[in-house]
Point group: C2
Chain length 422, copies 2
Amino acid sequence: MVDAAIQSGTANRECMFEAFARRLPTGRRYGIVAGTGRLLELIRQFRFTTEELTWLADNAVVRTPTLDYLADYSFTGNVWGYQEGEAYFPGSPLLLVESTFAEGVILETLILSVLNYDISVASAAARMVSVSLGRPIAEMGSRRTNEHSAVAAARAAFIAGFASTSNLEAGRQWGLPTMGTAAHSFVLLHDSEEEAFQAQVDAFGAATTLLVDTYDVPAGIALAVKVAGPELGSIRIDSGDLPTVVAAARAQLDSLGAVNTKITVTSDLDEFAIAALSASPVDAFGIGTSVVTGSGEPAAGLVYKLVAHKGQGDEWISVAKTSTAKVSMGGRKSALRRVDAVGTAQEEIILLGDGPGTKFDSRGLERALLVPLITDGAVDERYVGPAGTLRARAHNASVMQELPIEAFRLGRGEAVIPTSYR
Amino acid sequence: MVDAAIQSGTANRECMFEAFARRLPTGRRYGIVAGTGRLLELIRQFRFTTEELTWLADNAVVRTPTLDYLADYSFTGNVWGYQEGEAYFPGSPLLLVESTFAEGVILETLILSVLNYDISVASAAARMVSVSLGRPIAEMGSRRTNEHSAVAAARAAFIAGFASTSNLEAGRQWGLPTMGTAAHSFVLLHDSEEEAFQAQVDAFGAATTLLVDTYDVPAGIALAVKVAGPELGSIRIDSGDLPTVVAAARAQLDSLGAVNTKITVTSDLDEFAIAALSASPVDAFGIGTSVVTGSGEPAAGLVYKLVAHKGQGDEWISVAKTSTAKVSMGGRKSALRRVDAVGTAQEEIILLGDGPGTKFDSRGLERALLVPLITDGAVDERYVGPAGTLRARAHNASVMQELPIEAFRLGRGEAVIPTSYR
């Protein structure tokens, strides 16, 4: 596209692109924006290397004027977006990119890849947090998603309220709290379960978490308390019918005097399994597959569309696909969330025509949703790095307070507030 | 685990780890191994950088003896596995890692991340290819998965028989055939659909593919043939009720003399949508979301378990978790696939006890499934890089011929051949 647009002279037209979701994943009541902090850094660094340009030339993918253009590429336009951690609804203009056609269209795949995956994870994670009744959830799904996705997933889950991750690289890159676990292999490596527990307690002290379901859970619990004493920090159970097993484990721990020993469960849990344990004496959860794969919705379904370009007279012209299916709403937009007097969200209001910056301020009971993320190519530093990640988590926490209580029902339903265009 | 094992003196025990799937994704008849070529290169390069070691030290994640161990880490053991592109079934020992405990357990997350994601994609892609009736499928899903996963997905889909990818980086890294498309934004950028088509034909000639569904499909087709002439290479349709729209498009193209102009469809397709188009005059498919997210099964569910370790007398001791749920089969294994006289697969045979290398050869109607991938730390070069990717694709093509015809029914069912242990 860039090659043809450079040749036809349209590559430098000023354009507005918009990333949005036509609908929420089936049955979901809200979605959570994530990936923004990663994306801003990736846009800032987006360049074509000599090796890449050589490959494009050798394979005749694009022609010389395009190669020259790509060799000098860096994003110099403007980006507005919903803050990372924000809730969103069908049609919410999540990211607006104002630039030449070539500058903006080149970022399409990067923008959608980052947002679609990270939003999928954060939207699932938020549902898990909302049914966890304040009990901490650790992200432990690295092994169930691509090796790079794993780091992004840990970050997205943390933004949506997870307490920690087992992914150390996510700890290093994004400043997330990390935790470790012993697997069954550690127990099986030793000549007996007792030797394995002793090795772990010798290494980490009685406050460690012992995995008690390798051979027999009641025997494992008895042994764990015998080795670590009643000061044992925690036991982990990774299999079985959890409500039953957990209740028995709590009774057994208490009977052994280990009244402060916590119970962590990890066993293909998702938001429904967490909800089913709401009356069980579980102290902490570890979640793997379901959070890193978006709990049944592994891609958020965001699209990236050209919604306006400038005409001959420097005026903005709204554009949109108009054939029968997959119609979208053209035009430059801004967005507000109307809340009621006690601060509960009532409506997603999308203002057509003027675009971000013109109707930008919160007004009365309408909270502005778009913030400037990149201005003339310069990234707003508040939204990137570990500090940006913490900011996103804090924003998410406040946004979750704003959602109507019906948002937290796990059953299928429509978006919890309506979207209207004005 | 490594930290505690180093402290307890068990870190250097010789171990055998095994990656396998307890079951296929719900209703699937077979799975396809993928990721091996990526994984071997990643294992070869697996080191801890100074920055990473400093972070581990600063955050007291592990202690000094472990830091020293990690600083010197490189994998020196043996790995056997199913060839990339091979079919697999519940319990198939897909990857066997023979090394010290520490060397092998450190690779657990990497191995599972790569295999779980790539197998998920290849297993979905193979189903799409099998119902495509030989019509080429392009992988176009980069925007619907993490930005790094996108490259891996393109490679996995190619191994399972996809013809090309829109991911240029996958073309560059893995030598895959690439293709490009014009999006609706390219049409909308121009002052008219005609100007957009003209720009594209000027740039790429009449053999290009014009996207005809931005405004009105019949008008778009008429315009496409008017601009490019009846030599127009292809039209693309990305929305609508495809069987109806495609039939009308074919009739219209023929009536305009564009009898050789091909029809490409792309619109949230999956294996079921492809099957529904089996009687339609579609010439090529483009698949996005469904292939890169494993068509409903985004993680293959592989686990990585310690199955044996050496005892005091250098003998191998089989080990396995034995509590009630998630039981697995301990011991060193090898594997054969029994075929009948005409070469159709009949049974997955897992040989317990001796492990790979001892009952290794194909014998009569039993084909050996495990090959050495890494020997004393040295990677077999035949399985890595672009050449390894082509080899995997060729192996997959031959394996698909071997599967019973029932494997290609899309409806839910059990694994198409039984797994037995001997």
